[in-house]
Symmetry: C2
Subunit: 319 residues, 2 copies
């Protein structure tokens, strides 16, 4: 009977692997190039080869592996483990990833989308530990989401629930990549925050960010938060609007699944305590007065390990 | 072993009762005055007496009663069946309703809030039958909500999840009774729809509704939909905005629990097909283009029976 788990985080550029003990402690981690242009069959074989290698490298045998979990970008039928499509991996259409990986490794496998996997990682081993009812936002190029309710991920009817970045908060507002207008993602992702700042600077609003745009040709989300900290008025306004829009997302979710914890992850949380404090302040200012809300808003703890940890946790929980 | 169920719908004015067979067919229904000013003990005793009466009236004995369900206004600890408070019943503070009713009747009892009870009724026997994943909005003075996920009501951490009327759709917008700004309830309840129309008429926007306001001193939500049907431009605009705001609520919930059915209930659905069509149109216009959405938007089927049916269904499902 196996007693270790393999957690895999499949991205468009590289594939991260973790070997975990039964308590989900990381024994080792490493990564290989994704080489997505070789197609699914070759990739799954390489993944199988690599699992065998890291298992042996850590002085185990494949008999010790109980199950394998994989978090991945793309759209899925999660029950069947089929990747319908993935913007970063154009050759992958209706690929039965779970079955292929299970056949290759002779192990029980589970596939989950990347935001849900990271959410589950934080729930199992990170900021959400002990929170059977939590909501997770990951703030990067987009805004990803995950919902834990009664200790399980919320998948929805067709495995695309928990897409919290596409909650509409400003009807008729900014166009989102998804085709809707006014999504949280169109305002409060790292990219959208940078874009809103860039537009304001181009529209000649005075700001210390102008020099950056002139010199580098671009303004990043990090620039916005750094200049906000330094007291630039425009950067402060943009950063505060991002925090407010994230708080609105929290309030909506408060009235839906009523979590007792909100966990924020992704590159943007490098902005640190000022961002977290601003989200909390807007939440407190805008939430109803019907009852005192005893909810925690915090940052994720696992950083870039969330994907492999979550994948291993999902592997552990295979029934 | 009992084989009939009692469903109770407790409102501030009267208390409705239904006697149900094991398949949740209504055997009889009736109601008594709530007389909330007599306090909880007397009310629960009257409810107990009345249950005994209707059971005998229908030629059963109390031995035939398997369980009793009650839906009620107010705020609850649902697990314990304690009513914390209720705006309509000021004497009821921290009342252990479930325990009192169970002690009085010697039957297993369950208590649920009214919107969730109606939602569960529609799920068990009405428009939501067969939809293990549905979202319910009830449109009256306020906007109530209910969520069925994996066949169960979503209660949230502290039994106040599913408050869908308080999703924020217009940040900084109209003040809601709950203390927030921009809630769905502040725009798209029957009362808010009437209020928006009244404000527009007072602000001299031309409308056939003006005559009504002058004559009756008020405009109702029904008036808005009737005049919209007759072609009045302002009434059409107000009715359409209500439908749009409800569609925004549906889109948000699409991205959260991804239901395959949205069910609308409450007095406003008397507006009929034009309202339903407008909600569907706005949903289709505004929803993302990432995938085709195969979701049904429909009206509730149980009318004013939803409360007693839902309460009986909850009684049937007591574990």
């Amino acid at each position: 009977m196996g007693h270790i788990y393999i957690g895999i985080d499949l991205g468009g550029t590289n594939i991260k692997f973790g070997v975990f003990d039964k308590d989900l402690n990381i024994i080792s981690k490493s990564s290989i190039d994704a080489n997505v242009d070789t197609g699914a069959e070759i990739m799954i074989n390489r993944i199988g080869d690599y699992i065998e290698k890291i298992v042996v490298d850590n002085k185990y045998s494949m008999k010790d592996v109980k199950a394998i979990g994989m978090g991945s970008t793309g759209q899925f039928n999660l029950t069947e483990g089929i990747m319908y499509s993935c913007p970063n991996m154009p050759l992958f259409k209706n690929v039965p990833m779970k079955k292929m990986l299970s056949n290759r490794t002779s192990k029980p496998c589970v596939i989950e989308n990347d935001a849900n996997t990271a959410c589950y990682g934080e729930y199992a081993c990170g900021a959400g530990q002990g929170s059977d009812n939590m909501v997770f936002f990951t703030l990067g190029t987009g805004v990803g989401g995950g919902i834990i309710y009664n200790g399980h991920l919320v998948h929805g009817t067709d495995d695309s629930g928990g897409e919290l970045g596409h909650i509409i908060i400003h009807p008729g507002g900014r166009l989102c990549g998804c085709g809707q207008r006014g999504c949280i993602e169109a305002y409060a992702s790292a990219s959208s925050t940078a874009r809103r700042a860039t537009e304001a600077v181009i529209a000649c609003e005075p700001s210390s960010l102008k020099k950056l745009l002139d010199e580098n040709g671009r303004i990043t989300c990090k620039d916005v938060f750094v200049h906000a900290e330094k007291g630039d008025k425009l950067a402060s306004k943009i950063a505060d609007e991002t925090a407010r829009d994230l708080a609105i997302g929290c309030i909506t979710m408060r009235h839906v699944t009523e979590p007792h914890k909100f966990v924020f992850a992704g590159g943007m949380i490098a902005a640190g305590q000022p961002l977290l404090n601003a989200i909390k302040k807007h939440f407190a200012d805008m939430i109803w007065s019907m009852k005192k809300e005893d909810v925690e808003i915090c940052f994720a703890q696992l950083g870039e390990n969330a994907g492999i940890v979550g994948a291993a946790a999902l592997a552990r929980d295979i029934k």
